[in-house]
């Protein structure tokens, strides 16, 4: 029974990893670049939510969409200002730009009055409530995380499957040049992808906030989302979520059943094994360019 309890909390933690990984994968599919600042976008989203509830006194259910919207606009502007000018440069340049942006974000947050280096809590309406299912005890925070992840995935699925823009984005991610020829405004779509990805990151931050508090370095959890993305196969949206859950569960189990210290590295051991055994991940596309 203890194992089941651990697995449940692992799944909810894994959903967070999955959401961050989803952000990477969205951007990777669209522009073939990896955003190493996804964790920092998440941190900024959580801080915006904090400001909305604490400083402006908005209720939680209004603060969440406000923070998501603000982060979406921020993502759009970020893409315009920093990423767009260097598209086409080697992947290296973009990776370094996002790493640099992460440093800037983390540094600037410490300078903003009211944010700073302290830890904060976001007041949520479901704080401290639990659900009892037989012998299982599930905290409401965990349930909300899982539910929000499921709803968001459904929304994204519908968006990419049925909306005009979503289909255009799929086309652009499959072949940019062909998409250009078909009259799809690829550059504008790239900005939109960054907006969606930033909003997803902000949601992850707001969901994570009740579990770990809001602080400057909460973005480092983004480093655990890379293993999630790789396990799922970089470039597959459902893969990112499944990878996140796998990493979360493995981590939770190794925290209980393995000696101390294994919990922190479990995700990374999994990703190294995955690269050795099945480098394209669970849902990865195995295609090679023929010369």
């Amino acid at each position: 029974m203890q194992a089941l309890q651990v697995i449940v909390s692992g799944i909810s933690q894994g959903c967070i990893y999955g959401l961050i990984a989803l952000g990477f994968v969205l951007i990777y599919k669209a522009t073939e670049t990896v955003n190493f600042a996804q964790g920092e976008l998440m941190m900024l989203g959580a801080f915006l939510g904090l400001t909305a509830t604490a400083a402006f006194g908005l209720p939680y259910w209004a603060a969440v969409p406000a923070a998501l919207l603000a982060m979406a606009v921020f993502g759009l502007l970020l893409e315009r200002a920093v990423i767009n000018p260097i598209l086409g440069q080697p992947a290296f340049a973009i990776v370094m730009v996002t790493i640099g942006f992460g440093f800037v974000a983390r540094g600037l947050v410490t300078m903003i009055p009211g944010w700073g280096t302290d830890t904060h809590t976001i007041e949520t309406p479901f704080r401290g409530q639990v659900l009892r299912a037989g012998p299982l005890v599930i905290a409401a925070e965990h349930l909300v995380i899982v539910a929000a992840t499921v709803v968001l995935s459904a929304l994204l699925y519908a968006f990419f499957r049925y909306s005009r823009i979503g289909v255009a984005m799929q086309a652009a991610s499959q072949n940019q040049l062909a998409a250009y020829y078909m009259g799809i405004p690829v550059r504008r779509l790239n900005g939109l992808i960054w907006a969606i990805s930033a909003a997803v990151a902000a949601l992850a931050g707001l969901l994570l906030a009740p579990l770990t508090f809001v602080h400057v370095n909460m973005g480092f959890i983004g480093l655990k989302a890379f293993p999630a993305a790789v396990v799922g196969g970089f470039g597959s949206l459902p893969g990112a979520l499944v990878g996140g859950v796998v990493i979360g569960v493995v981590e939770a189990l190794s925290g209980v059943y393995l000696p101390e210290g294994f919990k922190d590295v479990a995700a990374y051991v999994v990703v190294l094994l995955m690269l050795a055994v099945k480098p394209n991940g669970l849902f990865g596309e195995t295609m090679r360019k023929k010369v």
């Binding site: 260097i86 086409g88 290296f92 540094g107 790789v230 210290g261 590295v265 990374y268 690269l275």
Partner: protein, 358 residues
């Protein structure tokens, strides 16, 4: 303006393009040998750090600048080198031997970690090395019987064949000699077929493969060499700091190393040195500038990372060739004096290169 007329094949094989260049490097060598006698011990030890970081940057430059691969785990190779040196020096091995051992071990670890990741796309190496770095950090903190756990290992003074280095100057000269040898090795490697293959793989794996260059193998060679060079730097690092602890070798440290090569200038040996000097000088400059800033900014803990990040982003957007690029442009300006044009170094229009099929 100077025109170099090539009249013999030996000119193509020589290390220097012309006599004046050789004379400049000779002057630099003399200056580097004399300088510790003119500076305070603190500055000499800072210079030693610059040299050690330069060796790291050379290793990373080989991988990132010339082979085009991203590693977010070079601090782990520095750690392997440093801990190997700490353990072997305690056993009384002479420094050259233990340093060679540190390089070998770091290189071997590099092969084991890099090979699986290098079979797939470029970004996977970054993630695999990052994972490796975090695992190494944890192992160093937990494997107490060998590494001393979180409190780390004390390292004795550098000793070889009856000579024990006791002051900053001695350490400086050891670092200088090592850096010079490594530089020579890297420069010569880059002129060899192997080095040319690295550059070919960087520019296009597909066309490299069409020319009969096995891309995966050369990426692995580059990665192993890069790790080995970083291991050499690690051996010096251990003696310079006299203590090694796990928290010196975090992923953040790896990112700082990567910044070093990007700011210095990707794809240039000079850039490795410029980048190393920059990374050492900037924190000191910030410490001085702090007093003149308003306290809300000056006293914030995030000032240094924010500045590092801003400078990094600025360089990539506006000066992708880094400090070395700036230096080349300035030099060209004076060489051509009234005829320098603004567009001479303009970036070529680049298009998205897809790694995917379809």
């Amino acid at each position: 303006m100077r025109f170099v007329f090539k009249t013999a094949y030996a000119q193509d094989l020589g290390l220097f393009a012309h006599g004046v260049q050789a004379a400049w490097y000779a002057a630099l060598a003399v200056a580097l040998v004399v300088v510790p006698w003119l500076l305070s011990p603190y500055l000499v030890s800072q210079l030693t750090f610059v040299l050690i970081y330069s060796i790291v940057a050379l290793g990373l430059m080989l991988l990132s600048g010339y082979t085009g691969q991203i590693s977010l785990g070079h601090a782990a190779f520095l750690a392997v080198g440093a801990y190997t040196e700490a353990v072997l020096a305690a056993k009384g091995w002479p420094f050259p031997l233990s340093m060679a051992m540190a390089a070998l071990l770091a290189g071997a670890v590099g092969v084991i970690v890099g090979t699986p990741a290098l079979r797939v796309k470029g970004i996977y190496l970054a993630i695999a090395t990052m994972a490796f770095n975090i695992i190494v950090e944890e192992v160093l903190a937990r494997w107490e019987s060998v590494t001393g756990g979180g409190s780390g290992l004390q390292v004795g003074p550098l000793a070889m064949f009856g000579w024990t280095v006791r002051d900053e100057r001695g350490m400086y000269y050891v670092a200088l000699a090592t850096a010079a040898l490594v530089t020579l090795a890297v420069v010569n490697l880059l002129r060899s077929p192997t080095g040319r293959a690295f550059v070919a793989v960087r520019d296009s794996e597909i066309s490299a493969a069409s020319m009969g260059i096995p891309a995966a193998r050369f990426k692995a060679i580059s990665f192993a060499l890069s790790a080995a060079i970083t291991g050499i730097a690690g051996a010096l690092y251990a003696h310079q700091l006299r203590i090694v602890t796990p928290d010196q070798f975090t992923v953040l440290q790896s990112i700082e190393m990567l910044m070093m090569v990007v700011i210095g200038g990707l794809g240039s040996v000079h850039g490795a040195f410029f980048g190393a000097a920059f990374v050492i000088v900037l924190p000191q400059a910030i410490a001085v500038a702090k007093d003149y800033l308003p306290p809300a900014i000056g006293q914030a803990t995030g000032l240094q990372p924010a500045l590092f990040g801003l400078i990094l982003v600025g360089f990539i957007l506006f000066e992708p060739l880094g400090l070395y690029g700036r230096w080349v442009k300035t030099r060209t300006y004076f060489q051509l004096f009234p005829f320098y044009r603004r567009g001479m170094f303009r970036r070529q229009k680049a298009f998205m290169k897809s790694e995917r099929l379809r």
